[in-house]
Amino acid sequence: MDALASVGAFSRFCVRGVRVLPRMDRRETLDVAASMAFGTLLVTLAVTAFAGAMLTVQGFASLKAFGTPELLGMFISLAGVREVFPLIAAGCIGAKLGSALAAEVATLRTGQQLDALEVMGIEPLEHLLMPRMTAATLVTPLLAGLGVLCGLGASGVIATLQLGVDPGAFWARALDSIHPRDIAAGLTKALAFGALTGSLGCWHGYTAGSGPWAVGRAANLTVVQLMVVGALVNLLLSHLFYGGLL
C-alpha cells in the first residue's frame, strides 16, 4: 500500500513538473545541462571504450570458434550498438547523474534551503527541479550517443589493429548492420532513461528527511530504483522496436 501511495505521489510530482514546463527557468536548465554533460563525459567515454574492447575480443573468440570471424563487424553492430553500448552508457550516466542530483537536492532539503526558496516566493519546481529533470532528459541521449560512437570506435580499433580484421570488411559489415531503427530505439531508450534519472533523483531529493542520513538514503533509493525500473523499461522498449517478446 505504501509503495502504491508513493508511486501515486511520484506521478503527481511529475505531472506538476510537466505543468510548470512553460515557466521553467531556461537559463538554469542550460547551465545545469552543460555542467552535467562535462562532468559525465569522461566516465561515459571510458566505460564505453572498455566495453567496446571487451565485446570485440570476446566476440572475436566466439566467432572464430564457429569459423566465421569475418562476421565481427556485424556482431558488434547487433550486440554492441543495439544493446550493450547504450545500456552501459545509460547505466553509467544514470548512476552518476541520479545519485548526484538526489544528493544535491537532499542537501538543499536538509539545509532548509528548499524551505527558504518557498518562503521567498520562489517555486523550487520551476527554478530548481524542473531545470534539473529537463537537463538530465536532454543530456542522457547526447552522452549515450557519444558513448555508442566511442564503443563502436574502440571496437574498430581493436578489431583492425589488434585482431587483424580487414578494416574495409569490418566497417562495411558494421555499418550495413545498423538500421535507422537501431538509432531511433537507442535514442528513445536514452530519453526515457534520462527522464527517469532526472525525475527519480529530484523526487527522492525533494522528499528527503533531515540530517546527513537523508542525503545518502536519497542517493541510494534513486540509483536502486533507477536500475530496476530502467531494466524493465529497456526490455519493453526492445520489444516495441524489435518485437518478438510475446
Binding site: 570476446q58 573468440a61 545518502g216 536500475m227 531494466a231
Partner: protein, 264 residues
C-alpha cells in the same frame, strides 16, 4: 571553440584526479590490511546480512529482464544464421561470464556507492569514527574491514543468484515466446557451464565486491563537512565504483579467460 576547450579541460582534470585518487585508495586499503585484516565476527555478520538484504531483490528485478533480453536478441541473431541449437550455449556463456558477475557487481556498486559510503561518511562527519579511536577501538578493524569482507563474501553469492535468474529469464522467453524446447534449452545451458566457469565467476565477483566496498569506505572515510560532505562522498563513490568495475573486469577477463591483452 570554447566548448571544446572546456571539454578538454574537464577530461584532463578528470584523468589527473583519477590517478591521484587511485594512489590514495591503494594506501587506504594497505592501511586497512595492516591494522585490521581480520574483522570481528559480529560486525562482519551484520554487514553481510545488510548487504544481502539490500541487494537480493534489486538483483532479481534487474537480471530477470536482462536474461529475457539476451534470449530475445540472441534468438533473432541466431535464427538469422540458422543455428538454433546455439541459443542455450550463447545465453549460458553470456550469463556466466559477464551478465551474472557484472550485474551482481553493479548492484553491489550501487549499494556500496550510495549506502556504504554515506554510512561511513555520516560516521565521519558526526565524529563517530573519532569516538572509536578515542575509545582505543580501531575503526579500520571494526568499521571498515567488516564492510570490505562483506563485499567480498556477498558479491559471489549474488552472482550465483544472478546466474540462476538470468537463465530463468532467458528460458522463459526462449520457451514461452520463441518456441524452443524447454528441456533441450536447460540441458544446453547446463552442459555449457563448466565448473571452471563457475569458479571464474566466483573469483571475479569476489574481487569486484572487495574493490567496490573499498572505494565506498575510502570515500566515506575522507568525507568532510556535514550533509554536503556526505553527498560529495556518495557521488565520488558511485563514479569510482563504475570505473573500478570497468578496470577490474578487463584485468580479470584477461587473467581468467586468457583473452589477449587489449593494449599491448
Amino acid at each position: 571553440m570554447e566548448l571544446a576547450r572546456d571539454a578538454l579541460a574537464a577530461l584532463g582534470e578528470g584523468a589527473r584526479d583519477l590517478c591521484a585518487g587511485a594512489a590514495r585508495l591503494m594506501l587506504f586499503v594497505v592501511s586497512v590490511l595492516r591494522h585490521g585484516a581480520l574483522p570481528p565476527a559480529g560486525p562482519l555478520a551484520e554487514q553481510c546480512w545488510v548487504l544481502s538484504r539490500q541487494c537480493v531483490l534489486p538483483v532479481t528485478l534487474v537480471v530477470l529482464p536482462m536474461g529475457a533480453l539476451i534470449s530475445l536478441q540472441g534468438a533473432s541473431l541466431i535464427e538469422s544464421f540458422g543455428v538454433e541449437r546455439l541459443l542455450a550455449p550463447l545465453v549460458a556463456l553470456t550469463a556466466v561470464r559477464e551478465l551474472a558477475p557484472g550485474f551482481a557487481a553493479m548492484m553491489v556498486a550501487m549499494q556500496a556507492g550510495t549506502a556504504v559510503s554515506a554510512e561511513v561518511a555520516v560516521m565521519r562527519v558526526r565524529e563517530e569514527l573519532d569516538a572509536y579511536e578515542l575509545m582505543a577501538v580501531d575503526p579500520l578493524r571494526h568499521v571498515v574491514a567488516p564492510r570490505l569482507w562483506a563485499g567480498m563474501l556477498v558479491a559471489p553469492l549474488l552472482s550465483v543468484l544472478a546466474l540462476l535468474w538470468a537463465v530463468m529469464g532467458a528460458w522463459a522467453v526462449a520457451v514461452g515466446a520463441r518456441g524452443f524446447a524447454s528441456r533441450a534449452f536447460l540441458e544446453g545451458c547446463l552442459v555449457t557451464i563448466t565448473p571452471w566457469d563457475l569458479a571464474a565467476m566466483t573469483i571475479k565477483s569476489a574481487v569486484f565486491g572487495l574493490v567496490l566496498c573499498a572505494v565506498a569506505c575510502f570515500e566515506g572515510w575522507y568525507a568532510r563537512g556535514g550533509a554536503l560532505g556526505v553527498g560529495r562522498a556518495t557521488n565520488r563513490a558511485v563514479v569510482g565504483a563504475i570505473l573500478g568495475i570497468l578496470m577490474f573486469n578487463y584485468v580479470l577477463n584477461s587473467l581468467l579467460y586468457g583473452a589477449p591483452a587489449v593494449f599491448t
